[in-house]
């Protein structure tokens, strides 16, 4: 088993290359999924915020038209 991992002496190079590949590809996926999660959270917060902002506006619009 040890002989397999040593890759005929090239272990450091081969495993670094494959490790780097896996790392970069995973990093891309994780970064993208995090991005989606963050944007979804912001979107939800903004949409509920927008609904809240619109509600109290109605009473004051009524008082304005009463004047």
């Amino acid at each position: 088993m040890g002989e397999y991992f040593s890759m005929g002496g090239y272990a450091a190079f081969v495993w670094s290359a494959y490790g780097m590949t896996v790392f970069v590809m995973l990093a891309l996926v994780i970064a993208t999924c995090l991005d989606i999660a963050i944007q979804k959270k912001r979107l939800d917060a903004l949409e509920s915020n927008g609904a809240r902002k619109r509600a109290p506006a109605r009473p004051s619009a009524q008082t304005a038209s009463e004047q």
Binding site: M7, M20, V24, I36
Partner: protein, 251 residues
């Protein structure tokens, strides 16, 4: 006109222009693509690392080729996707085209970077140096700079429509220049190394080596497509956030 006639190409084309429809479509496609990606890459790794022969000249280090060559291919393919999407954005004005271009760039850049790093790790045991100024490596390095510039432009211009148009122009100018730059680098290389002895190619591909190479190449391609769809979704969400922020005066 028969209202029940099947949609024309133009109608179907613009059907995807609606971000909501893209979200729906990508929702259905991402999972299966991801599964195919995982299967292909796993099979690729298996054949690359275990079930394939070592090279009689390069020994086990030839296995690096199975990640280096597909990365290089994807690095170049990424730029072509970017350039193609940019043409569609500028000429056909498809609204999602610049989203596609923006989303493709970091993936292509990452593969370009990987190609350089794995190439370096392959080169050190083979040629004795971490870096060599040969035509292909130099061209790949310049391609990475082109990617960085493109990504930097998107990051610097705030307004998405304006950024999209500027980035599309840059991608087009880049793709016009890539052949010119590559040719000049090749020319420069032959000028300074008239009798280039070493082959940056590596061994001629034996059939047992072709299988892992193709598996990895296909796997990387599916990875690209899957991740592209994911990144486009993220970008569409980001733009919705921005629209709402502007509307609610929170920016």
């Amino acid at each position: 006109m028969n209202p029940m006639s099947s949609p024309t190409f133009t109608q179907r084309f613009h059907a995807f222009a609606n971000p909501a429809r893209f979200m729906g479509l990508s929702d259905r496609l991402i999972a299966p693509c991801a599964v195919v990606t995982a299967l292909l890459i796993s099979a690729g790794f298996w054949f690359a690392l275990v079930n394939s022969p070592a090279d009689y000249q390069q020994g086990e280090s030839v296995r690096i080729m199975y990640v280096h060559v597909p990365s290089a291919w994807l690095g170049m393919m990424g730029y072509m996707v970017m350039a193609g999407a940019s043409i569609v954005a500028l000429v056909l004005r498809h609204p999602l085209a610049d989203v596609a271009a923006k989303s493709a760039a970091p993936i292509g850049a990452a593969f370009c970077f990987l190609a350089l790093v794995t190439g370096s790790l392959w080169g050190k045991p083979m040629w004795g140096t971490w870096w060599v100024w040969d035509a292909r490596l130099t061209s790949m390095l310049i391609l990475l700079f082109l990617y960085f510039g493109y990504i930097a432009l998107w990051a610097t211009i705030e307004e998405p429509q304006r950024a999209g148009r500027a980035a599309a122009i840059l991608a087009l100018v880049g793709s016009i220049n890539v052949p010119i730059v590559h040719y000049s680098v090749v020319w420069w290389n032959t000028l300074h190394q008239p009798a280039s002895v070493f082959r940056a190619d590596g061994p001629t591909i034996a059939p047992e080596m072709l299988l892992p190479l193709m598996l990895m190449a296909l796997g990387f391609t599916f990875f690209f497509v899957t991740l592209l769809m994911l990144r486009m979704r993220a970008e569409i969400l980001r733009r919705r956030v921005r629209v709402l922020q502007l509307a609610l005066g929170e920016v």
